[in-house]
Chain length 373, copies 4
């Protein structure tokens, strides 16, 4: 799913390039080619057939819309894609899709997409965290008033506030990176027993994983805790972006005015406005992430292939990546070059206190920055 | 958002045509043109300017991707669209966007989209309900075993079961139709006071509503219960589709075999399989609807324009329409021509009972069908 | 579910009294007694037995904990309750639970609870709306700055702002009142065919409904759109409370200071703080409502009694009532006697404008108040 | 929150004992006592005062309902509890709550509760996983038909199916155990700077953590990724329970009859029924977990203490523990002594195949069991 109209605004344009229909097609083809090659490694198909399949795949013209229409009958795009690939490969077509079921190809392709898009998300999370860390370092000793329950409380420093943003972003991206480093291959065949590849099934799965840069795994057709874990870290990362974005929106308010985005949005009718639009859209992008994660976590995949819960993952997972990626990209923009106004901070603080005692703030700021992964 | 690869499979292809970027652009332009015309009605802009704006708009080439990129700066596509429209209208450009704020245009355009897409959703809900009603009428007296908590219980009729499906679909589509019949215009100006149109503000809003076939309404910039209500009926409709779809999946199971889709999905490797793929994908499409509705219901729009909750609605609302529309379309396909096997029903029932006493089943079936809206 | 420790704080103490275990027991007993009486009306059981059952029920000692333990075996509390009631009624025990299934009793009792608790929720929603209306009337012409995307925009009036809060609350409570006015009876027997009451099934159901003040309805064991609709209006109402609560939190902020609760929370360590704690806890109470509604909307109740989705409703529905009731009660407290500071409003507004042109604000305020249901 | 009526049925009775009001009070008191002791370690209060506080706390009579009523004013139960404890401690009352803010006590107490209840949840997850592993070992070579998309596919073994259940449960409990092993202390003081404990703040926090068996941590008042991660693993664990529960419900169906619970629920009116009620209620308990996790993940805690998102965690977190704990407990019961019917499995399989080739099923079963943590 892509929307050239809304994706840039919501930060999803870069990540969407790895999640669009063309990416899906590329991933599906890559999995089929790698599977045939893995089968050839173990003598299940011939090496020459495998080469022919790879060759045919490399120039296979696939129109996503045509594939999409053809996918309706069987319920997924793998069935018609296999047909197309077999036709294109001529006699070597017999070496296409050896011992696999559609879910093997879909799930493995989904993991490739997650890996591709995940790198973008990680990059923007890292960029946002780094920007927060820079702000923290610069403003290690800049006093500001802390606000609790919406009210001015006692002093803190902007450095500690920004270091807290950074800590949340780092924690979230570390968790995401762990998941991305262990994306599993899926290969189980019709019923998860690898029967059609016997006695080479597990070996072919291991080869397939290696060829695609994925982790080897026993079939997990309806054991979806990995998908749940992936969804969870993405939603948590979106939320880790929304928190500083919310603070920026509030601190940018006219009456507070303690920070401003480098390129705030204007308003045609109200030239005095300086809308922190990057932070605003980061919040917007993040908002559907927990709900989408819930869809993915709560699947209840029944029997050996779920009749609906599985098919529901494709859009939910890519949309969740778009949401989190969008939030990270927009927050990064918001934090990069965020303008901080120490004088305004001091003036606001003077409303409730005249002694800016900041306790361990600077020390805690250092501690958080020193602990960065 | 559209996905030619996955939309057909998940039933969203027809409804997506009314929700894509081009539809958004068309709706935004339609609102701007109607607003200028409404302002002209009340002498705020000249009639000739209004004609020139309409003329310019009718041939305005808008590339959604370009508009999308230009939308980033200000945070929504209305700002650059107004710029483009003004440029295209020449001197009459002064009559573009009179007294409005971006949210007026976005919200009103969203209501147009909901209306357009909602008709498709309604049509498929009606088609699905009618198909269920036909099944109920034909099988009014066809005994089958009721199953409670997964276990065979006592007899019922397939007619009553199908009439129950129909009742849920009818109830859901009636609620949706009520919302669609009262889609509100949004026109409040920068702060919801219509100040820039004073003293004609409410009159212009009424004219705008009339021109667009929407209901007149006081500004509702952050009073989003209407959006919540719309989201709710869509999610309930999706669920009303998922329930019969689930039954069809279960009743189609090999061991039960009481129904079969007219065109079940095949399996390249397992020719004996007859997957009820339309019902399966109806369930899949419906699955994210309650979560998306939750995003829309739980907005907490603060002050006079929400900094994030508002921007989050655009994708959540269109995606929800895609989800519900997809579920309705796929369920309709599943129910149309559903093959019922009374002999198999009788044979299964014989496992636990030899007296098919169906009580008031036929009468209740009649009652449900007679009460159809 | 009740929590004497947290319920008062989160506003749920009053509504919880109608939702606790004792209320469930009372509702279950009331349904059984009314069912026996309805059956007697139609000659299915004897009038004297019905009287004896009512008599036995009126003094039946039921320990919720004991009933709860006994409910584990069969999966719901109706089975052991019927056993207890039969034992207590002696020979008239034969007249207990005629023709019913456990779900009939549970669902009907749940509707009673919804009705009881719903009245409390409605009352607090009405109280909150009335308080908002009073604020709107008093401050019809009090200028304040509107804030959009967190930034000062152009002037509005506090009257229009408060009238908008009122409009959302009124819309939400009207929708809730409609649902409460049509709470349906459930009576279908083992499989929804009313077979065990044949030929009096529908008549008994109608009598049962009349006796309990519920609406007559055909059995809806797995047709749960009504539950979905109920859940939706409750979640929307919670959100309609969270929106003004959020505004109050923001407007109470030290730097804005435009409103204050009549009895703000203190802080032992920071005597200058005036936390708008009623609004804060209204937001907190509302927060889980959309998620709980999603659980209830997305049930997919399969066959003739769902194996899990049904059982999940009991806690989700009562907890949703607690959430919405809590939000309404706390918001009412927040709005009652809300202290408004027109001078502060004027001073804040002066930051960006020196001409408080409020356009149609007063007129729109009047319009919203005049349209109150 | 507890419900003696519904907790046993939904498996939450054991875990609820660690989550009820009394547990909260105990945890709050424990944190205050440990904080005073930690402060004494660093010379902030006197050792004799600390002893007196501990003594007073050990016999402090706290009525949760009274504390709950007193908590309304300030917005949390810590404020009145500190008052009570100070009064009880006499002159030593000056040593109560040194340098802390209410959130420090609430968050730390919540972590204690999570630890207490988490052990129960872990124990039941382990019990369920062990039961699944036993089933897998016994039925390593028991052929059964795999079902994909609801249809019979090709053979597998029940051993592999049960090993898949075990793998999901083990993966989920391992993730939960990791979180439970790192539950963090919270101590930041009014604004997260530990100013009132300067220069001993971090040292006191470390001492407090050590005394309570928690991990030391910099203040995380609004950095809630840890809460999100905790919520996520709980929801994933609930889902890992729901998946085998769903399979058991389906495999127990009259027409399949391949498994049966050791103590299925009866039905007063239908003696032939054998409802797999433990699995059914495990599914029911799990169902609200992803939604509650979404509430906790998507908090957007603003500034230095969130005005609502924080207060919303208390019920959401304990209810999530109840949901997951309930699902685990009920699934454990369902799996313990699950009756497997190999003859029925063979007979069902004969519907579509006469050659039970199970490929690598046994080997994959061994692999999954060998990889158990």
């Amino acid at each position: 799913m892509t929307s050239p109209l809304f994706d840039p605004l919501l930060g999803a344009d870069r990540v969407a390039e790895r999640l669009d229909d063309a990416s899906w097609v590329a991933a599906l083809v890559a999995v089929e080619v790698a599977l045939t090659a893995a089968a050839a490694e173990h003598g299940i198909v011939s090496a020459s057939d495998a080469e022919a399949v790879a060759e045919a795949a490399s120039s296979l013209p696939v129109d996503p819309a045509e594939l999409g229409r053809a996918a309706v009958e069987g319920g997924n795009p793998v069935i018609p894609l296999v047909r197309m690939l077999r036709a294109a490969a001529g006699p070597a077509g017999r070496a296409v899709h050896p011992g696999a079921t559609s879910q093997d190809i879909m799930d493995t392709a989904a993991m490739l997409l997650v890996g591709w898009a995940g790198e973008i998300v990680l990059d923007d999370l890292r960029g946002a965290a780094d920007a927060a860390a820079r702000l923290a370092a610069v403003h290690r000793d800049t006093p500001m008033i802390a606000r609790t329950l919406g009210q001015q409380a006692v002093p803190t420093t902007f450095g500690l506030v920004a270091a807290g943003w950074c800590a949340g972003l780092d924690r979230a991206r570390t968790a995401l990176a762990v998941e991305l480093a262990h994306l599993p291959v899926q290969l189980g065949g019709a019923a998860g027993t690898l029967a059609a590849l016997h006695p080479h099934g597990p070996a072919v799965a291991a080869s397939l994983a290696a060829r695609l840069g994925l982790s080897d795994a026993a079939p997990w057709h309806t054991e979806r805790t990995r998908i749940g874990a992936l969804a969870a870290v993405l939603a948590i990362a979106a939320s880790a972006c929304a928190t500083p974005a919310t603070d920026i929106v509030l601190l940018s308010g006219t009456e507070l005015g303690e920070v401003a985005e480098a390129a705030p949005g204007d308003s045609s009718s109200m030239p005095h406005k300086r809308n922190p639009i990057a932070a605003i859209t980061a919040r917007a992008a993040a908002r559907r992430a927990p709900a989408l994660a819930g869809v993915l976590i709560g699947g209840e995949h029944e029997h050996q292939r779920a009749a609906g819960a599985w098919h529901a993952e494709w859009q939910a997972l890519t949309d969740l990546l778009r949401a989190t990626g969008g939030a990270a990209a927009r927050l990064r923009t918001s934090l990069d070059g965020l303008v901080v106004d120490p004088e305004r901070m001091a003036a606001n603080m003077a409303l409730t206190t005249d002694e800016p005692t900041t306790g361990h703030a600077a020390e805690l700021c250092d501690r958080l920055l020193a602990a960065r992964p």
